[in-house]
Symmetry: C2
Subunit: 453 residues, 2 copies
């Protein structure tokens, strides 16, 4: 793979900076992809980045800036000349500009808005107000729009004259006078058509689109299903506002997956990178669920307290508590993870629940039999435990496994039914619930079986 | 959102099929997106799909076929006329053709290969041999290649004549006589350039590319980093073999995430959809880890056995076992999940380990203090436990939390160091390790503190 090794590059650039080889650096930077330069920035000190940034040509500087992390953007903004800064802000694609402004202090944003044209001023204000994680917040306004009366030649000429400033020219949007979306036509179709064909004759009229308030996860699902490169966004009156491009959707998919991973580990979800987040913030995101789960575990403990007398006469029962709790928890989380993921990918629907239950029942019987088999063998050969204990432990093991897989597979569906995120019904919560059930069954069987023997 | 409701559509189509309204159906099908028709197929019986499929026009039939699930493809293959089948196979993009053949019985594949042209025969055999999850297995051969001596006009004419059959025309590849990759040029640049400009003058020469054997996860990382729409694939002699397009990468990203979710829940990873997988297969994928973790839990249990005497004289200690085990496991999995995800997204490197350790230490102190605070209060107010027990339980709680977060955050990095997948160091394994440590600390403190009081 011909990818640049960013770490090595950063090291060599850092050395050249120390040696003040600015001319060599200037030549070197010209050859490096702006995305790689932005990544090198993350490996260097703020002051080094500012020096490097000043060595870049104006156009490349603007590109590197658009890819830089928001921390680095702030460093650069504070250190470069106002005229260069204005040039850079002007060059940014509108969605990158909004992302940048969202991270800057209010004062700075006010200055930028004041300096913008009247039309852009309104747009910036509108875009800054879109809800986080909505289609509006992903959108850019740099798209090519055509009229249905145009010919292919006229359309290509228009693309030639405005295309340089647009984020994509590969899909063009056909709008009527009121900017309502009438259809789309791909650049591919334009290039493959004869010059005098009318746009109206080659455009696709039924266009999948979304509205500014739609959730980004739903938008990503549309991209995944239809394989779009770009999707138009309209307002409540069906007027076209902007487009969302697939490169931003790739980020959305990873972000949504990250949130699911976090929720499933009982952490309040967040987009922030781990290394950029302070200990107090991290603790605050982890505390609520740890507290809830600890309090649940106290209740689980009270089951043991309830059977303290029984346990006192047969302390050996305590040694099997970890086995029953852990195995039940693991079996339950396996099921819940598969169901949560299936729901997220749209492979599992609510109406599938009877088939899931039946499937999980058979899986749990198979797993239960195998695990209990091994465990019985071990108890007989290694520990020589009394028959009553062997029966109690392994009956509990099998029953716990069955219940764990039922509960684990059904709770995510129940969550979906209650319009909650299925991801909260993951390992930690399932484990706590199954632990309590396992102990309850364990001591229930023990008190009947062992006290009557 | 103007997305089609597949369930409603399937129901109405199913009804019309029962009523034998074939003419209406034919008209209806013409208006529906082939992707939606393929999804409707998943909701209907095999026989219904075959009837529907026969109602489609030839071109649309080929498109619907390419989007259909492999189960439905098999149903259709078994039921349509050979001439239509040959037409469809011929129309498929090469990557879709390979995906289709991979799912078909060997006999059928042999027939298709025998019927193919000699050139294609070699290609099919080569592509069927690419390792699953390699760049080669994602690749298609339908790309536009140009020569460096061409003018923009000649290039556009070439695109016009061959573009219809290509998967993408938006990036064109400049090859020399030996098919070595010399550069790329985007359709955007072609359209925006004057007719008589030479390709050599506008092409980008340093091209990021991958090799056929590269892992699909690394390829996806390149797309994410650089925002590509397509990536060229070359062989060991730098000769161009094919391209990978972003729509396939979106699937790869979801597939890799699914595998991580499965590994982190102690399940052997697989691409198969849950609903399409039988109980025995599901059980086989879950059994190995359940068994390993059960055996570990038996060792954890032996810690309790070791302190049976102590526990016998103070059975009340047993009631706190769930609290300590669960809280430790949850705290550890929170840390391991964040680190595993950070590694997967390239945000965390091995060299970050001292900063991570220090951060997790502070987080665990904060969480430990808060949880112990609540727990002490409860133990005093609700249960009125003796001071020695209160100290033992809560000292264990805090120490366990610290150790859990250290272990949880470091083990994924250790796995990466040993070239193992960090995702295996997730909740189930961390929980088992932390459980054992928690009990060890618990009884250690108890035997010192409570026997000396």
């Amino acid at each position: 793979m011909d990818e640049v090794n960013v770490l090595e590059l950063a090291e060599s650039i850092g050395q050249q900076l120390k040696d003040k080889k600015f001319r060599d650096l200037r030549t070197l930077l010209e050859e490096i992809n702006p995305i790689d330069i932005a990544e090198v920035f993350d490996e260097l000190e703020a002051e080094e980045c500012v020096i490097l940034f000043r060595l870049l040509k104006k156009d490349k500087a603007a590109e590197v800036f658009s890819y830089a992390s928001s921390a680095r953007q702030k460093d650069i903004v504070g250190a470069i000349h106002e005229s260069l800064l204005n040039y850079i802000i002007d060059e940014l694609y509108f969605d990158d500009k909004i992302d940048f402004l969202e991270e800057m202090p209010a004062n700075f944003v006010k200055q930028v808005i004041a300096a913008a044209s009247q039309e852009e001023r309104g747009l910036i204000n509108q875009f800054l107000n879109f809800k986080e994680n909505s289609a509006g917040s992903l959108m850019t306004i740099e798209y090519v729009h055509l009229g249905r009366e145009m010919t292919v030649r006229e359309a290509l000429d228009k693309i030639k004259s405005v295309g340089m400033e647009k984020e994509t020219v590969y899909t063009c949007y056909v709008l009527d006078r009121a900017r309502r979306l009438e259809g789309i036509v791909s650049l591919r179709k334009l290039v493959l058509s004869e010059d005098d064909v009318m746009i109206a004759d080659i455009m696709t009229e039924s266009v999948v689109h979304c509205e500014t308030g739609d959730d980004q996860e739903d938008v990503a699902d549309l991209f995944k299903k239809y394989g779009f490169m770009a999707l138009p966004v309209v307002d409540a009156e069906n007027r076209m506002i902007g487009i969302i491009t697939i490169d931003d959707i790739v980020d959305v998919i990873e972000q949504e997956n990250t949130e699911d991973f976090q929720k499933m580990a009982a952490i309040a979800p967040s987009d922030d990178e781990y290394m950029d987040t302070g200990a107090v913030t991290l603790a605050r995101r982890r505390m609520p669920w740890l507290m809830i789960l600890m309090i649940s575990a106290i209740f689980t403990g009270s089951i043991i307290s309830h059977y303290e007398e029984l346990l006192g006469t047969m302390v050996t029962l305590a040694a099997f508590i970890p086995l029953l709790m852990d195995t039940g928890g693991n079996a339950g989380s396996q099921s819940s993870t598969l169901i949560i993921r299936g729901i997220a990918l749209g492979e599992i629907e609510r109406r599938d629940w009877p088939r899931i239950l039946w499937k999980e029942f058979r899986v749990s019987l198979l797993c239960g039999a195998a695990l209990a088999g091994v465990n019985i063998l071990r108890m007989i050969v290694v520990t020589g435990a009394p028959l009553g204990v062997i029966i109690t432990v392994n009956a509990t093991l099998i029953i716990t496994l069955i219940i764990a897989k039922m509960v684990g597979s059904m709770l995510p569906l129940v969550a979906k039914l209650c319009r909650l995120d299925p991801a909260i019904m993951a390992a930690p919560l399932i484990t706590t619930i199954v632990d309590a059930l396992a102990l309850f069954i364990y001591f229930g069987i023990a008190s009947v079986l062992l006290f009557n023997m």
